[in-house]
C-alpha cells in the first residue's frame, strides 16, 4: 500500500507534469496491452519487426548521433549478429536463448575490430571507411557458400518462440529494456563525454580524457545492440542472408534516426515506429509506395531539420526563461520557480 503511494507520488510529480513523458508512458502501455485487444497476426509481425529495427536505429544513434562517429556500414553489426545466431543454431543446434546473446557479443567484438582501424579517421573519411566493412563480410559470405549458404543464405532456423504473441513480447520487452538502458547511458557521464567528443575531440583530450577508450566503447556498445537486433531478426524471420548486409540495411538506421531526431534516443524510436509501419502498409499502393515514402521523408527533413521528435517535444513543452526547467505547454507559470512563462 505504502509502496503504491510512493509510486503514485512519483507518477504525479515526475511523469504527469510533462506531456512528453505522458506520451512515452501511454506509448509503452499501449505496446504492452496491444495483444490483449488484437490478435491480428500481420499487425503483430509488423510491430515485432518495428521493435527489432528500433534497437538497430537506436544503436546507430548512440554511435553516430551521440559520439559523432558516423557509420555508413552499420549493417555489418546487424549481419554479424544475424549470421552468428543462424550458424550457431543450424550447425551447433544452439537455442535462441543462447544464440542471440552470443550473436550480440560477436557483433560487439566486430565493433571493436572496426573501431580500431577507424580511430584515426574523422567525419566523411570515417563514413566512407565504415561503408567498406559490410561489403567485405559479404565477400566472405560468398567465398564460402557451403558454410554460409552463399546467395541463398541460411534458412530453417529455429523459431524465436512458439507463438506470435510470445515472440511479440520478447521483441517489445527487449526493445524497451535496450532503449531504457541506452537512455540511461546517454544521460550519464559517459553520454556527456560522447557528446563532447562529437563536438571537439581535441579539447576533450586536452581535458585529460582518453578519447580512444570512449570511442571504442561507443563502437562496442553500438555493435552489441545492433547485433542483438540482427540475431533477433534472424530467429524471427527464420533466415539470415546477404541482404542483411546490403547498403539499404546500412542506410535505414540513418534515415530513421535523422527523420526522428538524432542524438536523442527517443528520436530513432519515433522514426522507426512511424516509418517502418508506414512503408509496410504502403504495400496497399505498390506503384507509389517508394515515392510516397521518399516524399514524406523529404518533407520532414525540409521542414524540421532537427527531426520530428524534438519538434513535437518543443510544441508540448516550453522552457522557463528563468530557471530553464521544462514545463507543459498549458502552464502560464513555471512549476519550479513560479516565474511567468512566455506564451
Amino acid at each position: 500500500m505504502f509502496r503504491l503511494r510512493i509510486l503514485g507520488r512519483y507518477l504525479h510529480s515526475e511523469i504527469l507534469v510533462l506531456p512528453a513523458r505522458v506520451l512515452a508512458l501511454v506509448f509503452i502501455a499501449a505496446l504492452l496491452v496491444l495483444p490483449l485487444f488484437s490478435g491480428d497476426s500481420y499487425l503483430l509481425m509488423v510491430l515485432i519487426l518495428t521493435a527489432i529495427f528500433t534497437m538497430y536505429a537506436v544503436s546507430w544513434d548512440l554511435l553516430a548521433g551521440y559520439a559523432g562517429q558516423i557509420s555508413l556500414g552499420h549493417a555489418l553489426f546487424f549481419g554479424v549478429g544475424a549470421y552468428t545466431a543462424a550458424l550457431l543454431n543450424t550447425k551447433l543446434g544452439l537455442s535462441p536463448a543462447f544464440g542471440i546473446p552470443l550473436g550480440a557479443v560477436t557483433a560487439m567484438t566486430s565493433g571493436l575490430l572496426v573501431g580500431v582501424p577507424c580511430l584515426r579517421l574523422r567525419r566523411h573519411y570515417l563514413a566512407l571507411a565504415t561503408l567498406a566493412f559490410p561489403l567485405m563480410l559479404t565477400g566472405i559470405v560468398f567465398a564460402f557458400p557451403e558454410f554460409t549458404g552463399g546467395e541463398l543464405g541460411i534458412y530453417a532456423i529455429t523459431r524465436l518462440a512458439a507463438t506470435r504473441v510470445v515472440e511479440y513480447y520478447i521483441a517489445i520487452g527487449t526493445m524497451l529494456l535496450v532503449v531504457a538502458l541506452l537512455w540511461k547511458l546517454t544521460t550519464s557521464r559517459v553520454g556527456l563525454i560522447f557528446h563532447a567528443i562529437r563536438e571537439d575531440e581535441v579539447v576533450v583530450r586536452a581535458l585529460g580524457i582518453d578519447t580512444i577508450r570512449y570511442k571504442l566503447l561507443a563502437f562496442m556498445v553500438s555493435g552489441l545492440v545492433a547485433g542483438l537486433s540482427g540475431a533477433l531478426y534472424a530467429h524471427f524471420l527464420r533466415t539470415a542472408g546477404p541482404s542483411n548486409l546490403d547498403l539499404f540495411m546500412s542506410f535505414h538506421p540513418v534515415i530513421w534516426t535523422i527523420f526522428g531526431g538524432a542524438a536523442t534516443i527517443y528520436g530513432p524510436v519515433t522514426g522507426v515506429f512511424l516509418l517502418f509501419p508506414a512503408l509496410e502498409y504502403l504495400r496497399a499502393v505498390p506503384e507509389y509506395r517508394m515515392l510516397i515514402f521518399a516524399l514524406l521523408i523529404l518533407l520532414v527533413l525540409r521542414l524540421l531539420p532537427g527531426g520530428l521528435a524534438p519538434w513535437i517535444r518543443d510544441r508540448l513543452e516550453k522552457q522557463c526563461p528563468n530557471c530553464r526547467m521544462n514545463n507543459a505547454f498549458v502552464r502560464s507559470t513555471c512549476r519550479a520557480c513560479r516565474s511567468q512563462l512566455t506564451p
Binding site: H195, V202, A206, L207, G208, R324
Partner: protein, 248 residues
Amino acid sequence: MAEGLRVQGLSVSYGPALIVHEVDLEVGAGATVSVVGPNGAGKTTVLRALSGLVLWEKSSSRQAGVQLVGEVWFGQERVDHLPAHQIASRGLILCPERRRPFREMTVEENLQAGAYLVRSRKVAQQRMAEVCRLFPVLRERGRQRAGTLSGGEQQMLAIGRALMGGPKLLMIDEPSTGLAPLVKQPLFARIREIKTLGIGILLVEQDAELALSMADSGYVLSQGRVVAQGSPAELLADEVVRRSYLGL
C-alpha cells in the same frame, strides 16, 4: 601543490616549415609566466606541444611530417612523450585558443566535462563552487547552451572548464582574442585571482602590456625563437623589444 615546468630545446616543424625553434622556457612552481610576441611567432604551437596535442596530431597522421624534439619536464617527470590526456592528468592543463567551448552543451555540462580527472564527487562540487565564485556569470548561465554565451563569457567558461580538472599549471592561450577592452580588463583581473590560488600560469598573449603586467617573468617569441626574456619591467623598458616585437 604547484609544480615547475622546464622546457629544453623544444623544436616543432610541420614538413619543411620550422614553427618553433630550440625554445628554452621555465615556469617556477606557482609562478606566472607570459609568452608574448607577434602573430605567427609560434606561441600557440609551443602550448600545443606542451599539452601533447602536437604529438596527437603526429600519431593520428592528420598532419604529414610533424616533428617534435626537445625535452619537457614537469616537476620531476619528463612528459614530452606522454599522450595528451596523461599530460593533463599530471596537472598540466590547457585552456585552448579560440576558447572552443562545447557549444551545444550547457555551461554546467561543459564544467562537468572538465571535471573528468576528479574522481571524488565532493571535490568536483567544491571545484564547481570555486569556479562559480571566480566567474559568477557561469552560475547564472548554468543551464544555458555554451554557444549562446558572449565571447567574454565563453572565455570565462573555457578557463573555468580547465580549472575543473585541478591544474597545477594552467596554460592559457590568447584569452583576449576578439574581446573588447572593457571585457579584457575584468577577465585579466580574474586570471590574477587564479594566481593567488597557488596555481601556476603560463599565459600566451598578443596584448603584451596586459600579459606582462601580471607576470613574474616573460618571454618574447618571434619566428619560433625566444628573442628576449626577463622580468616584465626589463622587457617593457627595452626599446628594441618594444618596437620590433611588441608593436608598442
